[in-house]
């Protein structure tokens, strides 16, 4: 909501505080935006790589499967049972490391083969051993590719998550925090102006009332004087009453009094 | 010997043993072979023994050969016909060829049999014509019998191959049949010679 604002008292201190916060938010927004851009760039690159690798995978696996068919052709149907029974401990394993992309830590796998003799070495000794070994190599390279793909995939998922969070933050700053701060600032400003205007008007009103009262008093005074004159007619040679006189007399002190005026319920 | 069908068992060993026994124990122990005694033995043997033996060998050996040939052909034919039933009727010809050898034997046996006449030995000695007839019938029977025995086996083996090759490739049938016909002709040679030999038969010397 663009009209939303923080509930604060519209004071000058608050105004400076809000302004400081706005500056912070703008800076943070710019930084996050940069991070999001970096992540997006990497992300896009990843997407391309994943699609490529996945399509590649089909071909590689096809090659491996065929190598297995060749092995089966040479070594006989029963060879798969021999292989299944020869399973002991894994010699192909995955090592993990951390990659850092714009502050996002991405796990990075790499497969490795534990060197040394395995039971599989002599499989197919009587027949088909060569094909079995070449099939084994084909599958090991397939595993390598698969692990790379797994890398890309984890990176994709992690980045996706990170990107979402960053974008959420950028959007939050851009669309919620910053407008809210700006609204608050403009609100405080408006409020302060309003207060000033109100005060001015009030003063004017007070002055007017004062003048009215003064005029009234002068009029009374004049009538009283006239009565007095009438009563003491011709005894005194007084000038006739000039209604503008008291105004001219009062105004200078009134205007100066506005500047010097101190009132208790005024804030400043 | 692990295998009773081995020829060493059923042919060479009995023949050799018989020969050794014959050479060693017959006649005068002072001589290895007493020829005088042997001569006496053969001279006093009845020619009817020889002629009967000839007839028996002619029919027996022929039928042995025919039967042998038929089972060699037959077992292959039956097995091969499981997959390719069309060969059965054609390959019955092989069986018939084998059967023919038996018939040759029977024919020769009948012919030989009709040649036998009644004569008597004079003073315990057979007339030389009677002796001649006895040996002629015996020889004729043996010739025909062994020829037909071998002919039957030959036709049987070729017939077996014929059945198997016909099952694989039907164009081979006629070609192998020709081989079979030539095999079958072997028996006929025996028959012919047998009949010619039996022509010498004259029991009383009257010709």
């Amino acid at each position: 909501m663009s009209t939303a604002r923080y509930t604060v008292a519209p004071t000058v201190t608050m105004l400076t505080m809000m302004k400081a916060r706005l500056v912070g938010a703008t800076k943070g927004h710019a930084l996050l935006k940069k991070k999001a851009d970096a992540l997006t760039m990497r992300f896009r690159q990843l997407l391309k790589e994943i699609i490529e690798a996945k399509e590649n995978l089909g071909a590689t696996m096809k090659g491996s499967f065929f190598a297995y068919t060749e092995a089966q052709y040479a070594a006989g149907e029963g060879i798969k049972h021999t292989i299944m029974d020869n399973v002991d401990t894994a010699v192909v394993k995955v090592r993990g490391a951390l990659d850092n992309v714009a502050g996002v830590k991405i796990p990075r796998f790499s497969s490795f083969v534990i060197p040394g003799e395995t039971k599989m070495d002599l499989t197919g000794l009587g027949r088909g051993g060569q094909q079995l070994q070449s099939c084994r190599k084909a599958y090991q390279s397939a595993v390598e590719l698969l692990v790379q793909l797994a890398n890309l995939q984890t990176a994709f998922l992690t980045l996706d998550e990170a990107l979402k969070v960053t974008n959420r933050r950028v959007n939050a700053l851009e669309n919620v925090v910053k407008p809210k701060l700006e609204n608050t600032i403009s609100y405080i400003k408006a409020e302060l102006d309003e207060l000033e205007r109100e005060e001015f008007f009030r003063l004017k009103k007070v002055q007017k009332n004062k003048q009215k009262n003064q005029a009234k008093a002068e009029a009374e005074f004049a009538t009283a004087m006239a009565e007095l004159q009438e009563a003491t007619a011709d005894t005194l040679d007084m000038p006739p009453f000039d209604p503008k006189m008291p105004g001219q007399n009062v105004q200078p002190p009134a205007s100066s009094s506005l500047l010097n005026y101190k009132e208790d319920d005024m804030l400043f | 010997m692990k295998d009773l069908t081995h020829p060493l068992v059923w042919f060479y060993i009995p023949v050799t043993l018989t020969w050794i026994c014959f050479c060693i124990s017959v006649g005068n122990p002072a001589k290895f072979i007493d020829y005088d005694w042997l001569w006496l033995l053969f001279r006093s043997m009845s020619p009817y023994f020889w002629s009967a033996l000839g007839v028996a060998l002619a029919v027996g050996m022929s039928i042995l050969g025919a039967a042998w040939g038929i089972f060699i052909t037959g077992s292959s034919l039956v097995g091969a016909a499981i997959r390719v039933p069309r060969i059965t009727s054609k390959n019955l010809i092989s069986v018939i060829f084998c059967e023919a050898t038996a018939i040759y034997g029977v024919i020769v046996a009948i012919i030989l049999q009709t040649k036998i006449e009644y004569v008597q030995p004079v003073d315990g000695v057979w007339d030389r014509y009677a002796m001649l007839s006895g040996y002629a019938i015996f020889g004729s029977g043996v010739t025909c019998g062994f020829a037909n025995l071998v002919c039957g086996m030959c036709v049987g083996i070729v017939g077996s191959s014929c059945a198997l090759s016909d099952a694989q490739n039907s164009t081979l049938f006629v070609k192998i049949l020709v081989v079979e016909i030539f095999g079958s002709a072997l028996g006929l040679f025996g028959v012919i010679i047998g009949i010619i030999m039996s022509g010498a038969v004259t029991w009383s010397g009257a010709k």
Binding site: R44, L47, K48, I50, I51, K54, E55, L57, G58, M61, K62, S64, F65, A67, Y68, A71, K80, I83, M84, N86, V87, D88, T89, A90, V91, V92, K93, V94, R95, G96, L98, V104, K105, I106, P107, F109, S111, F112, V113, I114, T118, M120, T123, L132, C135, R136, A138, Y139, Q140, A142, V143, L146, V147, L149, A150, N151, Q153, T154, L157, T158 | -
Partner: protein, 123 residues
């Protein structure tokens, strides 16, 4: 994220495989297979008789094991437990769909790839 990575043991983590017999045999030949002291295997042979429940439970078990970094699952098998795979959204273990020997790789079926293409296509 950092916490998950810190869990990788120094002697390496395993790959787990759920696929048909022929595909698994190949990976076992390469040396992926592992049978620990309690006879727990890191692979599951799925054939037409394997119940879906068993596939699901193995998949969840592999996900829960902390020594498995990557789960390879054949597309055919993945198709049977698609909803479970979609629920899995942790980066480790990474779930990777692979083609199986009997049916060629179909990119349209891949959960991740559809997501990737979705993002790539709509951004």
């Amino acid at each position: 994220m950092a916490g998950a990575v810190a869990g990788i043991p120094p002697d390496g983590m395993l790959l787990a495989v759920l696929a048909d017999e022929d595909t698994i045999t190949g990976f076992l030949l390469a040396g992926v297979g592992n049978v620990d002291l309690r006879k727990k295997r890191n692979y599951l042979v799925v054939d037409s008789k394997t119940p879906v429940r068993q596939i699901e439970s193995s998949f969840k078990e592999f996900c829960a094991r902390d020594d498995i970094a990557v789960i390879l699952i054949s597309q055919q098998v993945a198709g049977q437990i698609r909803n479970v795979i979609q629920q899995h959204n942790k980066p480790i273990p990474a779930v990777l769909e692979i083609p199986s020997k009997d049916c060629p790789y179909d990119p349209a079926q891949d959960t991740l790839l559809t997501r990737v293409k979705h993002i790539a296509g709509f951004n």
